[in-house]
Subunit: 275 residues, 2 copies
């Protein structure tokens, strides 16, 4: 695969834009294709079977556009459908789980790691398995908590609302009790709640899965000799082509909140077929 | 169409079960087919175009099973896609909007009507248009408020959580200021919040769109001579066949909360096609 081929990033919707943001930060000299399956969002409350089917369709679209790397920028899809995507792909595939699991192990001092995510991500136990696979289970304990209301709250923009703190208090109660010193933000929406979570648990180390996936991609593309050539113009204006399956009324506002810059003219496509 | 044909009810997911519950209460001697598009839920944050496409597919499925009446048991779909469904249907179609709009006009004493719903329902202005179409606009004022967090909160079962009250306080602030005495629950999830809303606004008259749609159906089927024959055995055990496009992990628990009885063995089907 050539250096100039794009990196393909897909998510159930706009959450993956927080991952894309980290990729642009760490790998600025790349072309990107972003696909958000906004017509079927969210994946986090759907069954494993359905998430696999949707992920296959998203990956299929990116592969048809000759990407050199597929980034599964959705924790739910990474948790239940990473193998599915890897099996169909002739280029490397990076998910959210393993890089963040490794970062959490490096980050913890007392060995108590918390993981928060959607119900599908938490039910899959993907983070716990990945952490215990990489670390000595005698020294590491993992405590998982699903936080289904965080996604709608972030999309609503109620980042500093008193209700958000009340909800977070409830979700974090067990993790506090267990004295976790590190929490994996196992959903691409959660980095937008970082400041609140840090205020509520001072000293906590938060692991942003997008950031660690991006760092992972530098190493992986570097080793394959496939990193994009340095091009100064990309530093000011990232080269991203956006595809979505639906453009709801709040799309542009929410996308800007996640990405930090405006999503310009997303292309609308259809995924899925009668089966 | 024969009396013994079923009534078809569809919704984006499980919310329409609160409508089905009202239909079973008012029309117990009917067979029902319920379709929840759980693989693509929710509709409330998607575009008009997408909601029309999905509604067409749901109605198509029900019509293929010879229903004598199509109930669009989703306020979002009723707001933006009712005409679409009517155009393709050779049997009557009942939506959520007009029956509830009429009930709100009958219910208000001071002429100030509030409407709450998803963002898509509120943006469509469907309730406001229906109310002002039926009533003298010099005597009736309509105040609309989207409440996007109510659906995830109800699905989470946080009906009595302090955070829910805080969120509701914010959503209801303008309606309070405008001294509304009647609020249309313009989303099938909201009847589960009735008690909280009544506590917060004592004396408020809440309009349950499912209830009024069911009453409307009695009249409509009665006039056509298509009401089901009285059958005592249906009083104890309603005759409902359930179809869904996905069975997520929380399906049965949430369905029971909406319906009041257990959903037994839903059939999984696929909707949608490549376009």
């Amino acid at each position: 695969m050539a250096k100039e081929n794009p990196i393909g990033v897909f998510d159930s919707g706009i959450g993956g834009l927080s991952v894309l943001k980290q990729f642009i930060r760490f790998l600025p000299y790349e072309k990107y294709i972003y696909l958000g399956d906004t017509a079927r969002v969210p994946y986090g409350n759907k069954s494993e079977e359905t998430v696999k089917e949707y992920s296959r369709e998203c990956a299929d679209f990116l592969l048809s556009r000759d990407v050199k790397l597929v980034v599964v920028a959705c924790n739910t899809a990474s948790s239940v459908a990473l193998e599915t995507v890897k099996e169909m792909s002739d280029v490397p595939v990076i998910g959210m789980i393993v890089p963040a699991a490794a970062a959490a192990i490096r980050g913890t001092l007392n060995g108590n790691i918390g993981v928060i995510g959607t119900r599908a991500t938490i039910n899959s136990n993907a983070y716990e398995k990945a952490i215990l696979n990489l670390a000595d289970s005698a020294q590491i304990k993992v405590y998982s908590q699903s936080c289904p209301l965080f996604v709608p709250i972030v999309e609503e923009g109620w980042i500093r609302h008193p209700a958000t703190r009340l909800i977070a208090e409830e979700y974090l109660a067990t993790l506090r009790e267990k004295l976790v010193d590190t929490i994996v933000l196992g959903c691409t929406h959660y980095p937008l709640l970082s400041q609140l979570l840090t205020e509520m648990m001072p000293g906590i180390s938060l692991i942003d899965s997008g950031e660690h996936a991006a760092v992972n991609a530098i190493r992986l593309l570097g080793e394959r000799g496939e990193l994009g050539e340095e091009r100064e113009e990309y530093i000011m204006t990232p080269d991203v082509e956006f595809f979505v399956t639906d453009v709801p009324s709040t799309f542009f506002e929410v996308a800007q909140r996640f990405l930090g810059f405006t999503v310009d003219k997303p292309h609308k496509i259809s995924l899925g077929k009668k089966s």
